[in-house]
Symmetry: C2
Subunit: 448 residues, 2 copies
């Protein structure tokens, strides 16, 4: 009898799981239920679609339901799974187009319900012109609003990476931009103070006004015209973007099925992406991920991780034995002319976990200093003062940032020390690096 793998959710983790399961066992029936109108899209590309770099939202879509069908994966759009009966091995699905529900049996189930953007339940929060940026539907809506309403003054609420990317996008489209951040600090969670300052300088240099504030409401006549802040200040803004982070989606569904949540509130899994419920896997932004540096489960929803988790879940749902070890906290974001990357722990994160750390931040050149286009690059290393083990790194600069941080990420995976870093035989040629790569410079300094 043909076995059936059912996947709930058709974006990064879900579609990776479905495609991998079918590849591992072509005899499987693989069915995906996606409650929205799109699957398999690169949500991280939305700021660049909105900015006009990517001309068509369809460019963001890696695979259509038709393409998946050719691979033998059945995708159902506008289908929301509303119930899971783990003993019966069935899911209840609401078909949003036909407005009807049906029950589907599964042999293995992958929960890949993703995450939802945090919203602000404040007066006026339903005014047109107020957006989050999470699904492709959100992205298309923002783009349409900008095209049709031509707003002049954007307010970005929140200083995380979506906020930073959208501040850039709005500026490039010619809007005035104010970022309202509770702490007043851009990427406070992700970066050390001294590194963050470089990003804030770049934002200021490009005309982004970063202010400290907490919204208490939104006002406007038929569409948003401003944000009210704690203390009563009113901030004009005819488009407002909430970049407050996300939380896992589909959690009540998972709980109904008996799936245990972790301390973070996301679904707990083992390294094979199994939940505690037999034959039910979870992957992507609804699930926790093991953090190899802290040694604890964490909630770090990112597309790269979702794809790895999905692939692992899909392989195992198809009878394989794949394992996903976990992450080291790598992230990169573009902020105007800068790439801003981090991996591992920040100083604050390391100290909160009881480490006594020392850090250095060095400024070097991304190429041989005499080479045309050579630009400053800043490397911060955070080291366990007791063992000399690398705990984290942050790199900010123009070219050559994202993939340099990957050297540090690789180092974190294998618990390298400063002495190990100093030995690395990193590539050198004047167009690409100084003879001492900035990572080696930093390692040599922090070794002292």
């Amino acid at each position: 009898m043909t076995k059936r793998v059912v996947v709930i959710g058709g974006v990064a983790a879900g579609m990776s799981a479905a495609a991998k399961a079918k590849r591992v066992d072509p005899a499987l029936e693989v069915v995906v239920y996606e409650r929205g109108p799109y699957i398999s899209y690169g949500a991280c590309g939305m700021p660049y679609f909105i900015a006009g770099d990517v001309p068509d939202y369809q460019d963001l879509i890696a695979r259509t339901p038709e393409q998946m069908a050719e691979q033998g994966v059945k995708v159902h759009l506008h289908h929301k799974v509303v119930g899971i009966a783990p003993d019966a091995h069935t899911v209840t699905v609401r078909d949003g187009e036909r407005e009807q529900e049906f029950v589907q049996e599964y042999d293995r189930l992958v929960i890949a319900t993703g995450a939802r953007a945090l919203e602000l339940p404040l007066p006026g929060a339903d005014l047109p012109g107020l957006f989050v940026l999470r699904s492709l539907v959100d992205g298309i809506a923002v783009k349409q609003f900008l095209d049709q309403q031509s707003p002049q003054q954007a307010v970005v609420i929140g200083g995380g990476y979506v906020g930073v990317e959208m501040a850039e996008t709005f500026r490039r489209l010619g809007l005035a931009v104010t970022m309202v951040i509770r702490s007043g600090q851009v990427m406070r969670q992700q970066l050390d103070h001294d590194v963050r300052a470089l990003v804030e300088d770049e934002m200021a240099r490009h005309g982004v006004d970063v202010i400290t504030g907490t919204p208490t409401g939104f006002e406007g006549d038929g569409r948003v015209e401003g944000v009210v802040l704690e203390g009563g200040e009113r901030l004009a803004g005819d488009v407002v973007l909430l970049g407050l982070g996300v939380h896992p989606d589909g959690i009540p569904l998972a709980e109904l099925a008996g799936a245990a949540l972790g301390r973070t509130g996301a679904i707990a899994t083992d390294g094979m992406m199994r939940t505690n419920v037999p034959d039910i896997y979870a992957a992507g932004d609804c699930a926790e991920v093991f953090h190899l540096v802290t040694g604890e489960p964490d909630y770090v929803p990112l597309g790269s991780t979702a794809n790895k988790q999905g692939r692992t879940a899909g392989e195992n749902a198809a009878g394989g034995q794949a394992a996903f070890a976990g992450i080291v906290g790598t992230m990169v974001v573009r902020a105007f002319d800068l790439a801003v990357a981090r991996t591992g722990l920040t100083t604050a994160e390391a100290e909160a976990r009881g480490y006594s750390v020392r850090g250095v931040k060095i400024r070097a050149s991304n190429r041989a200093r005499y080479f045309p286009g050579a630009a400053p690059i800043h490397v911060k290393l955070i080291v366990d003062d007791e063992t000399d083990r690398l705990l984290g790194g942050q790199i900010v600069g123009q070219d050559g940032v994202a993939k340099r941080v990957d050297v540090l990420a690789t180092a974190l995976h294998h618990r390298l020390t400063v002495a190990d870093l100093q030995q690395l035989d990193l590539s050198y040629a004047p167009p690409f690096s100084p003879v001492w790569d900035p990572i080696l410079v930093a390692a040599n300094v922090v070794a002292k």
Copy 2:
């Protein structure tokens, strides 16, 4: 009594050794004898100086003798060490300016005599217009010749990285370029066949004519006008660049001092850069280097390695206990619009060492495929088929090559397997990488 460290050679390794020794022990007297007119220059930048990217040769000079003097290091230009008496702890130095010799005592000696370009002792090899590119003097001479003689037709002999860089430089300056390579293959030693083909396509696309041939002489009336090849073919060329590789320099001097050479013909050292002669260290392009992948001493003269060896020798000459573990064979070169990088072993190198290998070469995108400027990137992984350990990697593409190969280099240092590579938490954002970094794509494919 003040101790004295004498360093023979003032370029990469020598100057690193001198500067480091002085920093470690400021009470030391540190003396450098450099037989040429310049110290501390970035020889690798010469193709870009000749091309005009770097306006002045002085831009290539990191530190002048005056700047070294401020740091307390005495540099003597035009001083050639002609003898070493290890028992007496003295060197005999010929002062080329005053035309006199003197004897200098040392407590510790660092031999950093570098390498010499291989020449072709053929008829006509002394014709003006024939160049090697090794020292800054060479670079200045080539530049001057191009400026004053305006040659139209360059012949590059040899297909290594200097040949490739100079072929690019000549083309960019508007010259016709023929590369004559004995094997007819560009970077044959450094790359696998399928990767090399990408570089050869790029050379062809930019009008470089690569031919198979072995020069038997040079002809010309007062300056070079052509190259005679085996078989009698005559190749017109009014500037000829020999890029045939290098061999260690200063070897007779080292042998006179009793320093043992390795199997490669370069000076043998231990991990502290000590030769077999008490108080004599060797570093840089005159010395061997331990290859961490093969587990054997090797001869791989590169500026990045020379600097690390010099720094190690300097620290130890000053009484420290530094160790340099060795290299993994990382190299990157620009070939027109491509960056070409390798690390570890090629397939041929691995097979020659008895490994049974499997390899994959994948083509991916260097950024999210929908992101403006996304370009193909090719990643080849070479794996020990028995243990699944990574043995080597080659990457070719536009952006994002050099520092991606460094992830593989880091992996080689720590003997990672394919499964380890698949787990890596590499940075992702659309401007910098697809959601599956090309390295992960290659690892996933080679894992199958």
